[in-house]
């Protein structure tokens, strides 16, 4: 992964993280705000219900009092106050009066609490309402909740009692409104909210007792736990019901207990608030945020890409410069822009390459001087050996001429023979130096390196086991499926023979000569190892320097020629050696040598 890509990824991650944090924060804040709003709505509705409830109470008290104050009721009270009054006359009166006053429940009861007429339960005439005749300031009590027996079963009503007193007899007017769907329908609710009423008429939770303004609530069983909790501990409580797995179908409820005169739980009002609007709004916000985030991310992506490119361009230039230097372009320089750290780095890089170039120049010059010195030393050494016999022979000729003219002829013949022999030596020396200078260009063709190695070993077989010297054991580890490479076999053979000869020279006491071939990705490797005396690290460092030799009579050109051959094939050679253990030469040859440009550009 490039530095630019990394930088881009870092930018993007930072951007994503920022967007995510903002999104989560916005969502949380929004949700909190909506929850607060919902709670406020519920509380407002509960307060509204309480106000409405209070208004209903006043209304009920007013209507029941209106019935008690009516002329017909007063006449009834007067009639019933007489001895042996016939109450049966009034048995049907409650129905008509309740209809005219829009009351669901209405009972007329005599002084002892016996029902004279009942609208909700006409058949209960004659039965007593015991609590009605007990001493109580009904006017002060106002309206209250009470369970009422009707023909259809028990119900809960918002009731009021008024008393018409004639003489020492009371006529009780007991009336009110049924708490049910009509009552709920009279409540004005905001959109998304609804009111449910549970009437606590049975010993345990009964789904049919839970109604909304249209009738019994479907899925009423879902409320069982909460209603049961309310029944056990009447108090305001809040809970939530998830109607489906979709959060939009969640509904939160606020429960308000409805208590009777004695504190008994007669019912509970449940104010439901659908979270659909909230969730949908939340989703819209999230969708909008996602859209904005996506656009931001896209913009961030482009800006990050541009920024990363802008930031990494000097670094890339530096890297390109460094790569050029590594490839030998010592004149590579980096453009310097600005004064920031990258610019400082570029300046330092340029300064470093300049210094490296200068040092390399000095090193080349030093090596060149050292090479010339070595060459001079070798030439002097090579030439000094034949010159000494030449000088001695010439002096012998002069001495024979002056001191023994009779022997001069004989001396002359011997001396001229020696002179010619030494001159021949000198010519050979010059010829070897000339040969090194005139290394031929490789003639490339397919070469099976294993065959070449086997041929060389076979050539040297006689010398490995020659009489009078310790034996050398050749070991071949040749990979069978070694691919052919493009090379000049003659040059390769010459280089490998050179290495084998060096190995034999390194093992005067005999040993093991190992040749190994391997390949990888079409390239081949050759290892030539001996178990000879080994080399010192210093010797290893200078081993491929022309005219350097560790042998008594070597020219110092053998390994230089080997390195030259390997180099001409685009390969490389290295040496590993340990003193007293042996030496190994590693040659790596590419499947195909690089195209070498000629001096004239071909």
């Amino acid at each position: 992964m490039t530095f630019r890509t990394k930088l881009f990824v870092v930018f993007m991650l930072a951007l994503l993280l920022s967007v995510a944090i903002v999104a989560v924060g916005v969502t949380a804040v929004t949700r909190r705000a909506f929850q607060d709003s919902n709670r406020a709505h519920s509380e407002a509705l509960v307060a509204q219900f309480e106000r409405e409830f209070e208004r209903h109470k006043q209304d009920i008290v007013h209507r029941v009092q209106g019935i008690a104050d009516a002329e017909a009721t007063v006449r009834m009270a007067i009639d019933l106050s007489r001895p042996k009054a016939d109450v049966s006359v009034y048995v049907n009166d409650a129905r008509g009066v309740s209809e005219s006053h829009q009351l669901d429940f209405l009972d007329f009861a005599s002084d002892d609490g016996s029902i004279i007429s009942s609208n909700e339960s006409p058949a209960r005439f004659g039965y007593k309402i015991d609590w009605l005749a007990q001493p109580q300031d009904w006017a002060a009590l106002g309206a209250f909740l009470r369970k009422v027996d009707t023909q259809d079963g028990p119900a809960v009503g918002l009731m009021s009692v008024s008393v018409v007193r004639v003489g020492d007899k009371n006529l009780y007017v007991f009336g009110g409104e049924r708490l049910g769907k009509d009552f709920l329908a009279s409540l004005v609710l905001p959109s998304g909210m609804r009111a449910l009423l549970y009437l606590n008429l049975d010993p345990s939770f009964e789904p049919g007792n839970l109604v909304d303004e249209s009738g019994p609530v479907t899925d009423g069983e879902r409320f069982a736990t909460f209603i049961e909790q309310e029944r056990q501990h009447p108090a305001e409580q809040a809970f939530e019901i998830a109607w489906t797995s979709d959060p939009a179908n969640r509904e939160s409820f606020h429960t308000l207990p409805l208590l009777g005169r004695q504190g008994d739980l007669l019912g509970a009002l449940l104010v439901g608030s659908s979270e659909r609007e909230v969730v949908l709004l939340e989703r819209r916000i999230i969708l909008l945020a996602a859209g904005v985030a996506a656009m931001g991310l896209l913009l961030g992506l482009l800006l990050s890409w541009w920024g990363a490119a802008r930031v990494t361009r000097p670094v890339r230039k530096l890297a390109e410069g460094a790569r050029a230097v590594s490839e030998g372009n010592w004149s590579a320089r980096v453009e310097v822009r600005g004064r920031n750290e990258i610019a400082q780095l570029a300046i330092a890089f340029n300064r470093m390459t300049e210094q490296l170039s200068e040092q390399r120049e000095r090193l080349v010059q030093a090596e060149r001087v050292a090479a010339w010195r070595e060459l001079a030393r070798r030439l002097a050494h090579e030439l000094k050996n034949p010159l000494f016999p030449l000088e001695t022979t010439v002096e012998n000729l002069q001495r024979a001429k002056e001191q023994s003219p009779e022997q001069f002829e004989e001396v002359f013949r011997e001396s001229t023979g020696i002179l010619l022999s030494e001159i021949e030596n000198l010519k050979k020396i010059v010829s070897r130096f000339s040969d090194f200078a005139k290394m031929p260009q490789p003639e490339i063709g397919p070469v099976n390196l294993n065959e070449t190695v086997r041929g060389i070993v076979k050539l040297f077989e006689a010398q490995f086991g020659a009489v009078g010297r310790p034996p050398i054991t050749p070991e071949l580890h040749l990979e069978e499926d070694l691919p052919a490479i493009q090379a000049d076999e003659a040059l390769l053979r010459r280089a490998i023979e050179n290495l084998v000869l060096n190995a034999m020279d390194a093992m005067p006491a005999g040993g093991v000569l190992m040749l190994r071939t391997t390949h990888e990705n079409g390239d081949v490797d050759l290892e030539v190892s001996d178990t000879g005396t080994g080399l010192t690290p210093e010797e290893c460092d200078r081993l491929f320097t022309p005219y350097y030799t560790t042998k008594q009579h070597g020219t110092g050109l053998g390994l230089a020629i080997v390195q030259s051959v390997v180099s001409d094939h685009g390969g490389r050679i290295s040496v590993e050696s340990e003193s007293g253990v042996g030496t190994s030469f590693h040659i790596h040859l590419p499947a195909k040598p690089p195209v070498r440009s000629t001096a004239n550009g071909e």
Binding site: S88, V89, V91, S121, P122, A123, R124, F125, G126, Y127, Q151
Partner: protein, 379 residues
């Protein structure tokens, strides 16, 4: 005894009221059409046709009027009875018109014709009477008091119709004597008479009225809450007795609802429901109305036994003799099974317009005395 005296006094008072205010003797006038409205619906003039008690009574009433019958197109169809009228128009379930038979051996009726409207609701009958659109109209007993308060002329006859509850054979409670007795003892019959019937009727403990048998006072009609509670507590299970009433009968509905309250107060449970066909198939008990077709207790009792045979089962022993004791024993045997629970006796009541003269409320088993009625001038 009190009940007997009260009923007799009431009967005399009603007869006096029906006779109208005292006025100088006048000769009856012939002519006119007597307009009569009844609640029953007669779909066939054949007395043998099976119908409700009310329909059968109405059919018998109409039949008693007839001497001859004509086809719908008015052609003579033959003598069918010995009555003073002949049918000239019959619309089943709605209307029947009978015309005076000039050849009636007992003498031609005073009115030329009688037009009987059937199936009229009580409220409509009262309104028609008040607006002089009807001359005679049947009035439910519970409406008598209101009619009197509105100044109408009302004629109330003897209590000749028994309202009772019978247990449906085969249903679980029909075989549970304690449940049947508990139900009977839970019912406050006087309250039903006083409040629902507005005192027009009598609590019924037996199946024969006091004026007929003279022994009705021997049956207890007051509620016995203590006994009822004890019996209900002995009945295992919490199943309700399902009591069915005629969906079109408001009186039965009111009584049924009162019984439900009484039973609940006594610790039992009764569910009431209308018995329109297919509406309430699981009723344990239902209302039945038995009309006295004869003032003779033995005749009435035998008729009851014939009609209640399937309900009474093995307890439907025939009347062994004609003495009051034997009749009482038979009646007691029927009542003590509690398979029939007598509730109240209802009287026949008619509203009569002021132009109707010589109207007498018919006695049980007698037909309508339309032949004796004549129409005078309205006051």
């Amino acid at each position: 005894m009190f009940e007997r005296l009260a009923a007799s006094s009431l009967f005399v008072a009603v007869l006096l009221a029906a006779a109208g205010p005292a006025e100088p003797a006048r000769r009856p006038k012939y002519g006119g059409t007597l307009r009569v409205e009844i609640g029953a619906v007669v779909s066939s003039l054949d007395p043998a046709a099976v119908g409700t008690a009310e329909e059968s009574a109405a059919t018998a009433g109409i039949d008693s009027l007839l001497y001859e019958r004509r086809n719908p197109e008015g052609t003579y169809a033959g003598v069918v009875g010995s009555g003073p009228f002949r049918v000239v128009q019959f619309e089943p379930g709605r209307r029947v018109v009978v015309a005076a038979n000039d050849n009636f051996p007992g003498g031609r009726p005073y009115v030329d014709s009688v037009e009987i409207q059937m199936g009229r609701p009580p409220h409509d009958r009262l309104v028609d009477l008040e607006l002089d659109r009807a001359d005679i109209a049947e009035i439910p007993p519970e409406e008598v008091r209101r009619a009197l308060e509105r100044g109408m002329r009302v004629s109330v006859g003897l209590t000749d119709e028994l309202v009772a509850i019978v247990f449906v054979p085969g249903r679980p409670f029909a075989e549970d004597a304690r449940a049947r007795e508990a139900l009977s003892r839970s019912i406050d019959r006087p309250a039903i008479v006083n409040f629902i019937l507005q005192k027009e009727g009598e609590p019924a403990g037996g199946v024969l009225p006091q004026w007929s048998s003279g022994t009705a006072f021997l049956y207890l009609t007051a509620v016995n809450v203590a006994a009822a509670r004890r019996l209900w507590s002995e009945i295992s299970g919490s199943r309700k007795i399902v009591l069915g009433y005629d969906a079109g009968d408001s009186l039965e509905q009111s009584i049924a609802e009162r019984i439900a309250v009484d039973v609940r107060e006594a610790g039992g449970a009764v569910a009431v429901g209308a018995t329109k066909p297919g509406l309430l198939a699981n009723e344990d008990a239902r209302f039945v109305r038995l009309r006295m077709t004869s003032p003779q207790p033995r005749d009435a009792l035998e008729r009851y036994l014939r009609s209640l045979g399937p309900i009474l089962g093995a307890n439907a022993d025939p009347v062994q003799g004609a003495t009051p004791q034997q009749i009482y024993d038979t009646e007691r045997a029927i009542v003590s099974t509690y398979r029939i629970v007598p509730l109240v006796w209802l009287p026949e009541a008619y509203g009569v317009s002021m132009r109707v003269r010589d109207w007498k409320t018919p006695a049980p088993g007698q037909g309508w005395p339309f032949a004796d009625v004549w129409l005078g001038d309205a006051p």
